[in-house]
């Protein structure tokens, strides 16, 4: 469990995340500036020498993720951070790290895309984050904070999961969470122990065989074996699924939303309740592993589902897989850096409630 400071401070999401990384025992950070997350690199470089470990501004995101590869392979607790276009450049390295089973933290402060896009907040990288992103069959562990507090806390959780499962972990935030200031109670330094890493390339003593970190398994039989091991790891990972449920007990309409969109959905839920519409909210905290079972368990109790995202509808596909055709699943989203308002979401909820009511009348 993470221990926290006594008092709260007011901090930007990016800075809270950077401070939390230091307190989580960060030993190496390699990154490249990009809006809206450059404060992470700036915050870390502003620290007294050694407090944040090795902090290096790389010449590109390609170099950054490969420095992370090397540093992780050398046994250090390492991270990088970027925003959407930069994260795209890191996908090759993440695929290599997943294959070589190297832990690291990658922070994606998601901005609107595709392309160079906009610097405004978005959740358009959900597919990229949760389905692999680079080449080959692999997954990242993905955590989705919805507050500055979680921007800080999830650093600890992400490092713990990454190191326990020897897999890259991603915090998928967005431009708003990175830039906004909120009250945060910072996690306490030293509450995340360093696990032993006997596989690290630290120099071969006479007492052991050489350590080799590689993602190359040229014989297909061996490559298949590595894939089977990875898939087994992802199955074990399912027990780490985390989500939060609000007022789902009596809900007839179940909202599903993550990150910033979940906060908007929660406000819309309150507005709907004021109108007598019984809405509930399920907020996936881990986007991979996805809370499929949690959603499936709620399905028999609800009439309809509404997924709210800041994209064209990405997580909605995973929700539909969980619902498996048993209930209608609607989608409300804004794209390209636009944030839906609670009123817009409420409008969708009201429409669904009316449609459900009409169907119920027709059926009776």
């Amino acid at each position: 469990m993470i221990e926290h400071d006594q008092g709260a401070t007011l901090m930007k999401g990016n800075e809270a995340l950077a401070e939390a990384a230091i307190r989580a025992g960060l030993q190496g950070y390699f990154g490249y500036p990009i809006t809206p997350q450059s404060e992470i690199l700036e915050y870390l470089t502003a620290q007294p020498k050694g407090r944040a470990g090795v902090v290096l501004q790389a010449e590109s995101e390609l170099a950054a993720i490969n420095m992370v590869f090397g540093a992780s392979g050398a046994g250090a607790r390492v991270m990088t951070s970027s925003s959407s276009p930069g994260i795209s450049l890191m996908q090759e390295g993440l695929s290599y790290m997943a294959s070589a089973q190297l832990p690291c933290l990658v922070v994606n402060v998601n901005r609107g895309g595709p392309g160079l896009g906009t610097i405004q907040p978005s959740q358009g990288d959900y597919f990229q984050a949760t389905k692999g992103g680079g080449h080959g069959d692999y997954r990242l562990i993905v955590l989705a904070p919805s507050s500055v507090q979680e921007m800080a806390d999830f650093v600890f959780e992400a490092f713990r999961l990454a190191e326990e499962y020897r897999n890259p972990a991603m915090i998928l935030a967005d431009g708003a969470l990175g830039q906004m200031m909120e009250k945060v109670i910072l996690p306490r330094e030293g509450s995340l122990p360093y696990p032993p890493k006997p596989w690290a390339t630290t120099g071969k003593p006479a007492s052991r065989e050489r350590n080799i970190i590689t993602s190359l398994f040229i014989q297909p039989e061996k490559m298949e074996q590595v894939n089977l091991e990875l898939q087994e790891k992802y199955r074990r990972l399912q027990k780490e699924v985390r989500f939060e449920a609000f007022q789902v007990e009596d809900a007839e309409i179940l909202l599903v939303a993550f990150g910033l969109a979940a906060r908007i959905a929660q406000k819309a839920l309150e507005l709907a309740r004021e109108q007598g519409i019984r809405a509930g909210l399920l907020r996936p905290i881990t986007l991979y592993p996805f809370p499929t079972a949690a959603i499936a368990n709620l399905v028999p109790n609800v009439e309809s589902l509404l997924v709210v995202e800041m994209n064209a509808g990405q997580m909605v596909e995973d929700v539909r897989l969980a619902v498996n055709g048993q209930r209608p699943v609607s989608f409300k989203g804004r794209m390209g850096g636009m944030i839906p308002t609670p009123e817009e979401v409420l409008e969708s909820i009201v429409q669904i409630a009316e449609r459900t009511h009409t169907e119920q009348v027709e059926r009776s």
Binding site: L56, E59, A63, N66, G70, E92, G203
Partner: protein, 254 residues
């Protein structure tokens, strides 16, 4: 007649150092990789730094370098070996870190990483094997392919108007203040091997000083890619490669 048994050690003129594994190398007959691996690992053995050495293998013919070098190693993505080496060295500054890269890896897809690694003066050794061709993928044009040279992607010879010029990246990095020791060597003759081995020894000794990057280019051959016998390849290399890539020191510590 009296006979004496000579202890085996007295006859011994060479022993495979512990820094080289027993694995037979996959390199083609006449290829320079094997000799280069051998002398690099001999130096690691002679300096007694096997326990403190971490290497980085590239993508290319030497992708399996870690099968032969008995030191801790990481296998990097194509072109990124010097970034991976940077990550290792920054975390473990008291270790001896080297990257081992071919011309496509170091001077085409990884040019950015190469320049910036040397420009930061990372205290690593970069070993650069220049044989002017992509051997692993079947003999395509490399950035260092000579003008007029036939490869599988320049079947009529490399034309500068279409494919630019042979990239003398070693001359380029020698200009950077972060470079401490830059030299160009070969491994095709006993004399060349002795000189190259000396260069490796210098480079690893310099790494202790934390003065910057040591960069050793080995002008090498590719009998299979060049479609020549090993002997022809060495002759062709001397005649054509050495004038374009003259051997010798480009930058030595003052």
């Amino acid at each position: 007649m009296q006979t004496t048994t000579i202890p085996p050690e007295m006859d011994l003129v060479y022993r495979r150092p512990d820094t080289l594994t027993q694995t037979p190398m996959h390199y083609c007959p006449g290829c320079g990789h094997g000799v280069t691996h051998k002398i690099l690992m001999e130096v690691v053995d002679e300096l007694g730094i096997q326990e403190q050495t971490v290497g980085v293998a590239p993508v290319g013919c030497s992708v399996f370098a870690y099968n032969y070098m008995n030191v801790d190693m990481q296998e990097a993505a194509h072109g990124r070996a010097s970034a991976v080496a940077t990550g290792i060295k920054r975390i473990l500054p008291d270790r001896f870190v080297f990257s081992y890269q071919g011309d496509g890896d170091l001077a085409a897809i990884g040019t950015g990483e190469t320049i910036h690694t040397v420009n930061r003066g990372e205290n690593i050794l970069v070993v650069f094997i220049n044989n002017a061709i992509y051997g692993m993928t079947g003999g395509q044009m490399a950035p260092t392919t000579l003008l007029g040279m036939v490869t599988s992607t320049t079947p009529f010879g490399r034309e500068s108007q279409v494919m630019g010029f042979p990239l003398k990246i070693t001359d380029l990095v020698a200009q950077l203040p972060g470079a401490y020791y830059v030299t160009r060597q070969a491994v095709h003759s006993p004399t060349a091997v002795r000189k190259a081995k000396k260069a490796f020894r210098h480079a690893l000794e310099y790494q202790k000083l934390n003065k910057g990057t040591c960069f050793i280019e080995i002008v090498s051959n590719c009998p299979a890619g060049w479609k020549m016998t090993p002997v022809e390849a060495n002759e062709w290399m001397e005649k054509n490669m050495f004038p374009a890539y003259p051997l010798g020191d480009l930058k030595v510590p003052k």
